[in-house]
Every structure is written in C-alpha cells, then in structure tokens.
Symmetry: C2
Subunit: 223 residues, 2 copies
C-alpha cells in the first residue's frame, strides 16, 4: 500500500468512527476478527512499555443486565442534576447499547504492571491511565475499519464494575465498551444530532507557541 492510500485510509477510519448506542445488531463477530482488533489495541504505545491494560470480554447476559441496571440508575442521577431545559434535551439521548451489542469489552488499568520503576511515570502518576486510553482508541479505529461499531459507556461507578467483574482493588476499570456489528454508523455524532452540544471548530483548539497565542489572535477572551 502506498503512502497516500495509507494516509487516506487512516483519515477515513478516523472520520467514520462514531460512539455507537442505537445501531448494534447483536450479530456474532468471527473470533479471528475480534482477536485482530484486540492485537491492535494491545499494540498501543505505553509509558515505559508497561502495557498496563487488560481486556475483559463480557458476553454473559446476567452480567450485562446487572451492569445495565446500574447504568440506568446513574442515568437518572445525571438527569436529576440537570436544569429543566437540559433535562428535556437529555430525554431522547441513548447512552449505552449494553444488551444490544454483541460483546462488552471492559478495559482496565493495572498500576502495578512494570512497577515500581515505570520509565516515564515517576513525574506523572496518570501516565499509565493515559496509555490505557491509547489502547482504547486503537480498538475503536480497528473496529471502525472492520465495519463494526463501538460505544463507550461511562455512566457507572468504578467500585460497582470492580465488584461485578472481580477486579483486584488496585485495578481500575477505564471503560465499558459495547462492540459489534451495526446497521450503520451515523454521520453526525448523536449528541450533536440531539442538540446536546455542537462540535467546536478545530481552529479554536490550535494555539501557537503559548496558550494565549493562536492563528486568529483570539486574544484574552478565551483565557
């Protein structure tokens, strides 16, 4: 594959990728394809080559149903925290596809992997968590490129998931990912389609040399 095709393909996967909730079909995934995606996740960079992630594949309906009950409750907690207008906007927004997706993939972070002398982590305790997230994005792009969908569920309390999956105390769940075949991928993010929030122009995120320096001389108002 030549360089232009490679770049085009990566950009296509990056722009097609969506955070999926409603479009899962529940159809099976070939084990070899799932393994390929997990190898891709496991190929992520990590601080000190610690590879501090694990992937727990959850297909059991009972486990997923218990998680969904917990998530439903956290959804209510969030809804009740909102002002009336925002609460109305929130009503039609689906926040998970736990039961409809083919598989739950819970990605965890183990701070003892490679410890105590993790090269590059002595000054930044969170660096291992960051590595775990890089693996998640690899998985997300691999799934998109395979024609699957993935959705990150974050309406949960970490201790609940630790207990549900028997995680050691030191191991943090970082994401519950719903994964599997989809009817389609939406072109516009759900939260934008439902008028929860509009996307920010990329230009607003680019600064030159320092926080206050940028292309459009945005000035002091954004500081």
């Amino acid at each position: 594959m030549d360089a232009t095709d490679l770049a085009d393909a990566v950009y296509e996967a990056i722009s097609r990728r969506r955070d999926v909730r409603a479009e899962f079909t529940g159809e099976p995934m070939p084990p070899a394809t799932l393994h390929r995606m997990l190898v891709a996740a496991h190929s992520a960079p990590s601080v000190g080559l610690s590879q501090p992630w694990d992937f727990i594949l959850v297909s059991a309906g009972t486990t997923r149903a218990r998680f969904k009950d917990h998530v439903d409750n956290e959804r209510r907690v969030f809804a009740e925290s909102l002002p009336a207008e925002r609460a109305r906007t929130f009503v039609p927004i689906k926040v998970e596809g736990i039961m409809e997706s083919t598989l739950g993939v819970v990605v965890t972070y183990d701070p003892e992997r490679g410890a105590p002398a993790v090269l590059g982590r002595h000054a930044i305790a969170d660096a291992g968590l960051y590595s775990t997230c890089l693996a998640i994005q690899n998985l997300w792009l691999a799934a998109t490129a395979e024609g699957y969908g993935m959705g990150w569920v974050s309406f949960y309390r970490e201790p609940f998931v630790q207990h549900l999956l028997g995680l050691p105390d030191r191991v943090r769940p970082v994401a519950w990912l719903c994964l599997g075949p989809v009817e389609k991928l939406q072109e516009v993010p759900d939260l934008e389609r439902h008028h929860w929030r509009a996307r920010r122009p990329v230009e607003a995120a680019i600064h030159l040399e320092t926080w206050s320096g940028d292309v459009a001389s945005r000035g002091a108002s954004d500081q």
Copy 2:
C-alpha cells in the same frame, strides 16, 4: 476504498507506529499536512462531546530548550531512583527528541469545556482526561500514516509546563509530543531493543467474563 483495504491500512498504521526519540530529521512539515493531522486529532470521541483538548504548537527554540533542561533534570531524578542494574540499562535510552524534532505539540485538558453538566462525566471525573488521550492516539496514527514520527515525552512536572506555556491553572498538560519527519521508524520499540522491558503477549491481557477467567485458565497466580 473497499472494506478489506481500509482494515489492512489501519492495522498497518497501528503496527508501524513507534514512540520516536532518535530518528527525527528536523525537516519542515507542510502546513496543510500538519492541519490534516490536527483535524484527525480533533475528530476523536469525547465524553459529552466536550472536546476538552487543545493543541499548542511549540516551535520556538528558547521554549524548547527550557523544556529540555527541565526534562534532563527529571531524567536524572528518575535515574537516581533506580537500582544499579536498572540504572545501567537506562543509560543509553533516549527519552525525548525535543530539539531534533520539527515541532512540539503540547496537548492539554480543560475540565471546564462543556461543564458543569458534561454528559457521561458525573460518575467518572477522569473521563475528560481519557478523551484527551484518544485525540493523542488519533494524532499519532495520522502522523504515522503520513510517514512522520511522533514521540511522547513524560519526564516533566505539570506545573513547569503550565508556567512555561502560560496555561490557566485549571488546564492540565497531558502530553508534550515531538513531531516531524524521521529517517525511519524502528521496527522494535526502543525500550525492548535496549532490554528495558519485553512486550507482554496479547493472550495474557485477554480475560473471559471476569478478571479471573481467561483463555488459558491462567488461574489465581495472575490475580
């Protein structure tokens, strides 16, 4: 591009990607290419569509030299914390390409973006940091696909970088990324080539249904 080509390309970018320190050439990057890569980073998923990241492009030699001095000092701090054998292994390992790379890209996290009611963050305070890391991995894969190299420097204290770049107190630097053309990408990660640490087999990271369940019935020893 058909589905197989798309998946092949994404897997190729994921496996080619390296954490680059020594291979930067310092050659310029076309502004349009840099912009394309930043758009890819900005296309990452984010909790509540908060897009809490910013990208500070640092080319000024004075800023980079000040950062490098700080990193050199943190390198010494880490080296002095190591037992003798590990300290000897650490000596030849280069941990940054700050001055040799074409550009520093500092990625930051702003917890006030979209706050207070960030959808999906009420139960997990770190979810916004996680989003920021997803943008970093998009940038890394885009750079790899463009034939460039990228290296994440994490030998720094956050307050130093906040002061150096004039970040508001609430904004955390998440990564200093060295970016630019490279002579080549290594095939084996630096830390493995230098016998700092071997890569973990992917099978060891995969668990079925719960932490203690896995393909090879690893059993209690890994818990």
